[in-house]
Assembly symmetry: C2
Homo-oligomer: 760 residues x 2
Amino acid sequence: MTPKEYQFLGKGHRLVEGLEKVTGRARYAGDMTLPGMLHARPILSPYAHAKIVSIDKSAAEQMPGVVAVLTAEDLLTKNRVIASRNSAVLAKERVLFRGQPVVVVVGDSPAAAQDGADAVLIEYEPLPVVADMLQAMTPAAPVIWPEGLPRDETDLTAAHAAVAKETEVMKRAPSNVHEENHYRRGDVEQGFKEADVIVEHTYTTSIVHQSYLEPHAAVAEPDPLRGSLTLYTGTQGQFMVRDEVARILALPKSKVRVVPLTMGGGFGAKYGIIEPLVGAIALALQRPVRLVLTRSEDFLTTTPAPASRIELKTGARKDGTLTAIQARIILDNGVFAFAIGGIAATLLGGYYRCPNVQLDCYEVITHKPQAGAYRAPGAPQATFALESNMDELARALKLDPLEFRLQNAAETGDPTGTGEIWPNMGLKLCLERMKKHPAWQNRTKGADEGIGLAIGGWPCFMTPSAAICRVDSDGTVRLQLGSVDISGVNSSLVLIAAEILGVSPEQVEIVQGDTHSGPFGAHSGGSQTTYSMSGAVANAAQEARRKLLEVASDHFEASADDLEMRDGQVQVRGVPDRMISLAELVEIAQTKAGGPGPIVGEGHAAVEENAPGFVVHLAKVMVDPETGQVTPTQYVAVQDVGFALNPMMVEGQIHGGAVQSLGWALQEAMRYDEEGQLLTGSFMDYAVPKFDSVPGIETVLVANPSPHGPFGARGVGEPPITAGPAVIANAIRDAVGVRITEAPMSSEAVWRAMQEKNER
Amino acid sequence: MTPKEYQFLGKGHRLVEGLEKVTGRARYAGDMTLPGMLHARPILSPYAHAKIVSIDKSAAEQMPGVVAVLTAEDLLTKNRVIASRNSAVLAKERVLFRGQPVVVVVGDSPAAAQDGADAVLIEYEPLPVVADMLQAMTPAAPVIWPEGLPRDETDLTAAHAAVAKETEVMKRAPSNVHEENHYRRGDVEQGFKEADVIVEHTYTTSIVHQSYLEPHAAVAEPDPLRGSLTLYTGTQGQFMVRDEVARILALPKSKVRVVPLTMGGGFGAKYGIIEPLVGAIALALQRPVRLVLTRSEDFLTTTPAPASRIELKTGARKDGTLTAIQARIILDNGVFAFAIGGIAATLLGGYYRCPNVQLDCYEVITHKPQAGAYRAPGAPQATFALESNMDELARALKLDPLEFRLQNAAETGDPTGTGEIWPNMGLKLCLERMKKHPAWQNRTKGADEGIGLAIGGWPCFMTPSAAICRVDSDGTVRLQLGSVDISGVNSSLVLIAAEILGVSPEQVEIVQGDTHSGPFGAHSGGSQTTYSMSGAVANAAQEARRKLLEVASDHFEASADDLEMRDGQVQVRGVPDRMISLAELVEIAQTKAGGPGPIVGEGHAAVEENAPGFVVHLAKVMVDPETGQVTPTQYVAVQDVGFALNPMMVEGQIHGGAVQSLGWALQEAMRYDEEGQLLTGSFMDYAVPKFDSVPGIETVLVANPSPHGPFGARGVGEPPITAGPAVIANAIRDAVGVRITEAPMSSEAVWRAMQEKNER
């Protein structure tokens, strides 16, 4: 089949679970109720760094409805080192960030647990706080982990056989810079010598929260007989959560079952944060327990995107040839390691073909919550810096900014910033496409208006995955999947099965696998799910098709080559009255001795190579000359999606990513004071884009098929968040002539820059 | 592999779910609690035949905690014809048997519902009752269905497209004999002419209840959004229950999901009796609802084995050659059709090679609950008659009863009583084996003691089945099955996977599929589950093994032929230090680009032919000359099991079947009076064998491998219940010289026969 012949693929189809979601029937972890279930409420540290002097549970334990008041000592993890936010089941002896859980109170009801929590008395002795990453890097700063970062696998009770090989080699002498990475290509000194123009700026981005609609929530149910644990949670990857919970609670993996529920948004943050704690509580009390974080708790205790500082120097010749890129990348990991400098470097030194590149990455520890993954982690930061500098280079060289990028854009086979080689990629195709777009062709602007443009992209990952396709005796096709759907993936996968089996997409159902009912599939991150799963689903459906045709071939005494499958039926080609429904074929298969057996197809895919996705975004903004307020008024997003299995879902991803990138660009920042206190712990203080602050977003899909996977699809989830901050910065520059290097680009910053410019 | 090389198969292994069961952790339908769940209590008809004059709900509806009082009119099935016990959601206009549900009261608690039920006033007008099957056959008897049997598929609201082809052709003019079947082979008149001895008796068996430990119970949960229904129930076949509920409630199959829970015994009766009613209530109220029958309700309203009357005439020559078998078989179907004469005839005319056979089967309607399947339906009845007559023939001919049977026993290729051809069978092997057994070789008996012997058997069925075998990243092997385990099947299937994958059986877990999560597998009836599933499981495990070896082959750079898989590892043959665990191989498979993908194997089997199972049982009894009480003191059960995958489970099946056959022989009878009132509606009145009334049972397994299936296993569940009544009758004959032809053989009947004999 070629795309033109597809009946369903590429045509668009509603979100398969949309009805549940809009009617409120979808069940989230917070909706789960089990018989005898208890409710947990955490007490979070009010200090960013303090010694826990004493914990007085007595008053709380007397409260009606309070079942237990638990500290680290009460959980089976009491002897474990706390080495990451995930493993921080409860703080021991000292607290290391504002929001670290110290005590958990369990009650018959959420209210009883909260009343109990209010009655626990904890005495702290505040200790010096290192809240700022630049301060943390100074020689004078107290070293937060003088003995080196704690290692996740250390369990003081016992040495496990499997532990040794996980041990991470310490990269440096004690310092708050827990990891450095240096990437070199060519000779940047020589490159800058060859440059006619050099642009040098320091860019910063803030800590940005993923701001999923559903705060973290989980239900744990112990099985005292088997010593096992079932966790119900909204997660991006049940197998990853299972493995992590098993590791932290020192249970065999087979004793932990993670059942993924409907997701209220993940964006990288839903791989298990409270799950080990909820599991530990359930095991301690041998009762089912539910914990749902409040929005403020979620802000305080989860893992937002790290703040960044990128000192960037770029040079180019008059003819537009890039000669050198040099960057110092500093990332605020919070109190535990979360190193993403490598991804930032991949893009910073990989978007463009440049002979001389030097990238130095520093991962810094501070007394703040551990940083975590947020949609394309590292990419908005790197892209903001590089694409701002590229804009300035083009201006300095008086080159068309799009032509300048096109001239230098990386192509298949070029190196990334970390020295890998780009597989098949479509960056130039996107630039060519934007070049022809009316918004670029006919760009005009009024007073205080500006148009900005930037590229972006993401390597997109992959994971070997399997799928099962079964056809039931009423013709219903069921896809059993171990992947979870956080972004509409299932609404594409049903189309694949429908296309191959010639049935309506409504006839295809998804059966969500948990860690016991599998099969193993890609987790939902790294823009990999559709790319990894679609081959598995296609192969499973093909196998089911093959078996159905075998039955039909026998039934009609005709060669399978002479049969066609469509509209839920198999018919002999050219003989319309010789037809049989899939339902009837399944009935035969389920009863016929010596036949092919029930119609069950296993399919798998282990794609050989990733399929990176690139974008070119354009925005028009209006800048209020009185206040500096920036209002985007137009947005065009060109993206190489390979092939849009379900264009409606792809466009939704692009809209969502672009809107989040406008949050990065203009609004979102988790601000901490010098004592490590979060100043923006609710949606009253932390501003996400709202419907009325976002312009219409036009999506333009470029189809540069991935050479792998059955239909040419690429990952689409992360690329659309990467370009926005640079696009807006470049548009502001175009509108009012100032270069803003700090994201979010607040009205105040823009106004100040305009003032300074006017003063010059 | 040959059986001698097996590491686990044939060695015996504990019941995989035994721990849950003995500790009370296993969850049955009656243990299910869902948020907002209601409780239903039925009101059963006190009459066997009556007009429903009026139903006054008003008082009940006012009771606290009563949510609804529902009659047939209140359910969406109101326009459906009641055509079977299964479809008898609630009686309409008239009741047709004592125990038919008329009203259901739904409350917040079981107690509230029961209080409500006690307050409903129903006025009946009694109608003439035809309770006895012989009376029902007389020309003078009122015809219960003068218009012919109602047809299941008739829905008065609409004509469904799928209905027409299900329509059953009426076999006869209106009569209480709703179906007759006549089977002929040779010429019985000629056969009797050739006979030197003719034995003629009339045998009767009673209505016998399956007496499972768990009464019928189900929970139904509606999904108002999708208009769908989930049923939780202990069942022998979730797909069959799903299809039946969908049909009766006029829902597409895809809108009904049946989740099979732990089973507290089925024996043929757990294919859905109350499920359509519970589903209809949940849909009517749009709330989850649970119904658990009391033991007495269960006796009154479910589907026990039919009573039978077999008029049997057999002839043989002096040399021991059987010349003719003639039988008139009458079965009491109750008020709806349940025809099993064909199975009785299959065995009656098929156990022995006999040239002249005439079998006439009559299926009779009475005002009693519909009969249903009970372990080897029809076989204990037929075997009781035939094997009693065979004993008398041997006596009359002064032949050794075992040699006489051996001389005439059917062999592979001989016809059954209905003209089918026996596939590979081992009846003679069983007789040969019993012949050598000390209990037969050295048989001695004291005063009032007797030894009896009889054969028995069952065709054993099969259903195409599929299975999924997944290996997890900790080496755990999971078998995903759509079959359910009512008899230890899973405890054999885990051994198959363990054997093939070289892991401990403890490392193999069963993942129970429901109708959504499948895959389709054989239902647990007809002694088919192990026979049908073991090939599917073996093929699935082989496929997983193949993939693991592919990964290992790549890892070791060695040919798969040079690798061996054992103790949870793959190693290079002869190089013990080159080994890798299955867990590590799975990790590689789940991460390696271009590899075989996650380790998921699909397997299926659609066995070409059934593999009948035969038995020879022997019992010694002591008959009390004063009271006629019969006490079995020894029991030997020889059975062709093909190959015992898990001998512990096979022996358990033989023990259980033999004990139940002793119930048939000596104790169990559901007695009705002439008004159709059940006189034995509790375990106070209905006596099942108890531990102290059962002798030790010695099992002797004959291994005559089935030519189909991967290991030679045959069905083992039903054969052991077939011989017992005849064995006991023959032992009584041997002990005290009387031939009892009515089962159960009560002390009174034995005593009366002894008196009559003494008077002669």
